[in-house]
C-alpha cells in the first residue's frame, strides 16, 4: 500500500490529490503503471502520463518501494 499523488486531469481521474494504492514493494515502475491503468482505466485516455518517484521522472525498470513518494504526471502544460 502506498500513497500516490495526482495532479491536473489525473486528480479528477483518481478522485483525489492523494489516493491509496495497494502494491508490493519491489514492483517495477512499468508494473505500477499497469496496476494504475487497471485501477483507473481513464488514465489510458490521456495523451500520455509519466510517473515520478521521489520527485524525479522514473524509468520503466526502476523498482518502487511503498515508502517512495509516487506521483502521476499527466501531460504538463505550464508556461
Amino acid at each position: 500500500m502506498a500513497k500516490v499523488l495526482s495532479f491536473g486531469i489525473a486528480k479528477e481521474i483518481t478522485g483525489g490529490s492523494v489516493v491509496d494504492v495497494p502494491f508490493e514493494s519491489g514492483i517495477t515502475l512499468s508494473g505500477l503503471r499497469s496496476l494504475l491503468e487497471s485501477r483507473y482505466p481513464r488514465l489510458r485516455d490521456l495523451k500520455s502520463f509519466a510517473i515520478a518517484v521521489n520527485g524525479e521522472y522514473a524509468a520503466a525498470e526502476q523498482l518502487i518501494n511503498d515508502t517512495d513518494e509516487i506521483a502521476i504526471i499527466p501531460p504538463v502544460s505550464g508556461g
Binding site: L5, F7, G8, I9, E12, D45, L46, K47, A52, G55, E56, Y57, A71, I73, P74, P75, V76, S77, G78, G79
Partner: protein, 138 residues
C-alpha cells in the same frame, strides 16, 4: 546565478529584470507568458495553474543548470505562478542576462520550450460553458 520560484502572488516583471541585471551583461532577454482571451476562438474566462511544487522547482533548476553549462550566460531567473489567472495576467517570467545577446536569446527560448515539456505544472482553461486541462487528451 539562478533564481527559481513558484508563487501564488502576481509576478513582478521589474523586480525580475532588476535581479538579472549586472555590470557584466550587455543583453537581457525576457520572456513573459500572458493569459490570452481565447483558445481556438473560444473565449477564455480564466486559467487555473497547479504545480507539483517540489518537483517543479527541481525541474526548473535543472533547466537553469543545463543552460549555465551550455551557454555563456550570467544570470537566469524562472518564476511561475499558480492559482487562478485572468486574461492579461502573467503565468511565467523567464529572464536571462548574458555578455552578448545571442546567448541570452538562445537560452531564454530553450528555457521556456523545455519548461513546457518537463516541468510538472498544469493549466486548466475555464470557458463560460466548461473547462479543459490543456494538452491532457490526444
Amino acid at each position: 546565478m539562478t533564481d527559481i520560484k513558484i508563487s501564488e502572488s502576481p509576478l513582478n516583471v521589474q523586480s525580475c529584470i532588476d535581479w538579472v541585471q549586472s555590470p557584466e551583461s550587455g543583453g537581457i532577454d525576457v520572456f513573459l507568458g500572458t493569459v490570452r482571451n481565447a483558445t481556438k476562438g473560444r473565449p477564455v474566462q480564466y486559467l487555473e495553474f497547479e504545480a507539483y511544487e517540489p518537483m517543479a522547482i527541481a525541474e526548473m533548476k535543472k533547466i537553469a543548470e543545463e543552460i549555465l553549462a551550455k551557454w555563456p550566460v550570467n544570470k537566469i531567473l524562472i518564476h511561475h505562478r499558480t492559482g487562478k489567472l485572468g486574461v492579461g495576467e502573467i503565468p511565467v517570467i523567464i529572464a536571462v542576462a548574458a555578455a552578448h545577446r545571442g546567448a541570452a536569446f538562445d537560452a531564454c527560448r530553450y528555457a521556456i520550450d523545455t519548461l513546457k515539456q518537463t516541468v510538472p505544472i498544469w493549466k486548466k482553461e475555464v470557458f463560460e460553458d466548461g473547462e479543459v486541462w490543456v494538452a491532457a487528451h490526444p
